[in-house]
Amino acid sequence: MTIPTSSIEQVIPGQGSMAQPESGKPAKAKRQRFRFVTNKKAATGLIMLSIYVLFAIIGPWIAPYEPDARSNDLIQSPSGAHWLGTTHLGQDVFSQLLVGTRSVMFVGFVAGIVATVLSVIIGVTAGYLGGKTDEGLSALSNVFLVIPALPLIIIITSTLESAEDWLIALVIGLTSWSWNARVLRAQTLSLRRRDFVDAARATGEKTWRVIVFELMPNLTAVIASGFVGTVIFAVLSEITLAFIGVTSSTTWNWGTILFWAQGQQALAQEAWWWFIPAGLAIALLGTALSLINFGIDEFVSPRLRSVGKTKIKTVDGRTVRMRIGFTPVLSNSPAPHTQASPTPVVRKEVTQ
């Protein structure tokens, strides 16, 4: 019987971490935290993200030119002097890209933090307190959920006189918390009747203490994935705002580059170096963040993992596809419809 040992090994740690969240001693918890990084997707995402963070910090210092500095090399294709070519004013695209990283990361993270804090406050409170508070807060988050966020952000920022980075981050953060609040509320609802929460209440702990020290640690994964999701949304929103020209044009970000490329007919001039790198930078940053989120998802719910090859050849030459939900059955009956063949154990019930 060929059992893919890896799939079984992988199932156990995630299961342990979520099913018995309170049982872990500190040392054990630490080991599990490192487990998260061993997930290939999460590790790839984290490495990519840290490269972006690095460029956000050192970008403006290592940029070979000032992003605004004009020169006589108008619309030059990439060369040794200008790695990613130049714009219609002879500005260096590579420098603009490097300098712009900081603004993008700043807005992404600040908006992410604002939205996450709001969603935790609203979602967890609603879920834990229940009753009228829950109804009110849920209605509030549902309203924010169905109002289209991007048009709202566009309208708000366009009325602001000077849309600086921190202001944009704030607007995005204040309008994009609702999805996470909803998810957190649902998760809290399932947690609040658990024994350990009841025990904490019975010992007379204050409500805020129960929420912060008993519930929050168990919501870490959900909060983290919500944060990452909001950062993706914030980055895309900021770039969109810059692209349609509502943000202040003095700060550089990738959207500003695309704004100029679009406005100055980069397409008609075949200046691919002007708009392709910026878009790729956005897409790769988004991919990195999504990968981290997949890592978190799979960490929480091991079923979601890609299991690798599931088609195997049995001894008698038939191909069998392994699937979750199959109980191992060993039978010699040749009846075709029962698929009586050594089907490996992949099934591991996640007891919630």
Binding site: V146, T159, G325
Partner: protein, 326 residues
């Protein structure tokens, strides 16, 4: 029925919230924007337009905020969204009613196609885990991270040109007049192909991913094992047992993410200069045309709310549990 009424009440409440928000946002504009606009459009603004502007920005000194709010509602209920600056002196409602059909057709149809296509592929990827379908995942991750408008730019760069079949901008050729005839319809379709493709490619991946994850979760439920044990065909189990149950969260997800999708698709219109609502919004932004911006926001919000209501009805039809009285 009770469920549906509850939902309708909720959407009415949300519509009220959006309209109220729309009422207060212009009041955040610092300084006296009306004066700035009057100087900008020297002599082009009629006194009536100036009056309506003062109401819009809440700068009418003689009235309390409450009275302004009531005025705003009565204007709105008369279908009066003010006058546009960009297309002065056309009323905003007229501009919106000419551009809305374009957006509804383009975004509506592509969103529905994308939902069904993505859900179908997601069923496949979730059911045949570990097969070639898993290869879709990295690609879809990348595509879902690409901004819609950038994909549009790339599409224009790669696929359009002087001799290309695809036109690079607009909704129809200049010489044509919008009408339901054999000249206009094919031309409009040709113009909408590329924007539709762009929206499709970047939005389909989200559905694939969420449906795949739901399928994987559902596939390990006991009733699936039972269905297999009964000897039902693999196809039947996948479709009637697994997919039918996995679909429900995806449908409610569809309703909730409409707001995000619509926001993204507006950008595609901008890139392709497609004569829809998004392109109008873009032009309004450039000209600081506040009445048009607000009208567009209002229409987008109301469309999304209506679409949500339709998705709720669909959910009601799909899930018998919600139909039970009591």
């Amino acid at each position: 029925m009770k469920y549906l009424l509850q939902r309708i009440a909720f959407y009415l409440f949300t519509a009220w919230a959006a309209i109220t928000l729309n009422f207060f946002i212009p009041r955040m504009v610092p300084g006296d924007p009306v004066q700035a606009l009057i100087t900008k459009y020297q002599g082009q603004l009629s006194s009536q337009a100036i009056d309506s502007l003062y109401v819009l920005f809440g700068l009418d000194k003689d009235k309390s905020v409450w009275e302004e709010y009531v005025d705003y509602w009565s204007q709105l209920l008369h279908g009066d969204l003010g006058l546009s600056f960009t297309f002065f002196p056309t009323p905003v409602s007229e501009i919106i009613s000419t551009s809305l059909p374009w957006t509804l057709l383009l975004v509506g149809i592509t969103t529905i196609i994308s939902f069904f296509l993505g859900t179908g592929l997601g069923v496949l990827a979730g059911w045949r885990r570990g097969s070639w379908a898993d290869g879709l995942l990295p690609v879809t991750t990348f595509l879902s991270s690409v901004p819609y408008f950038w994909l549009g730019i790339i599409a224009i760069y790669l696929l359009t040109g002087p001799d290309s079949f695809f036109p690079s901008s607009g909704g129809f050729d200049n010489g044509l007049v919008p009408a339901w005839d054999q000249y206009f319809i094919p031309n409009a379709l040709k113009h909408s192909l590329l924007p539709a493709l762009t929206i499709l490619i970047s939005s389909v991946s989200g559905w694939i991913l969420s449906m795949r994850n739901m399928m994987v979760t559902v596939a390990s439920e006991d009733y699936i094992t039972v269905a297999h044990a009964k000897g039902l065909s693999d196809r039947r189990v996948a479709m009637s047992y697994a997919a039918r149950n996995a679909l429900l969260p995806n449908v409610s997800g569809f309703a909730l993410s409409l707001g995000f999708i619509v926001g993204g698709t507006l950008l595609v219109e901008i890139v392709f200069s497609y004569p829809g609502i998004g392109f109008q919004l873009f032009q309004a932004l450039g000209a600081q045309d506040y009445p048009l911006m607000q009208g567009v926001f209002l229409i987008i919000t109301i469309s999304v709310l209506v679409a949500n209501l339709i998705a709720d009805v669909a959910y009601l039809l799909l899930d018998p549990r919600t139909r039970k009285e009591g």
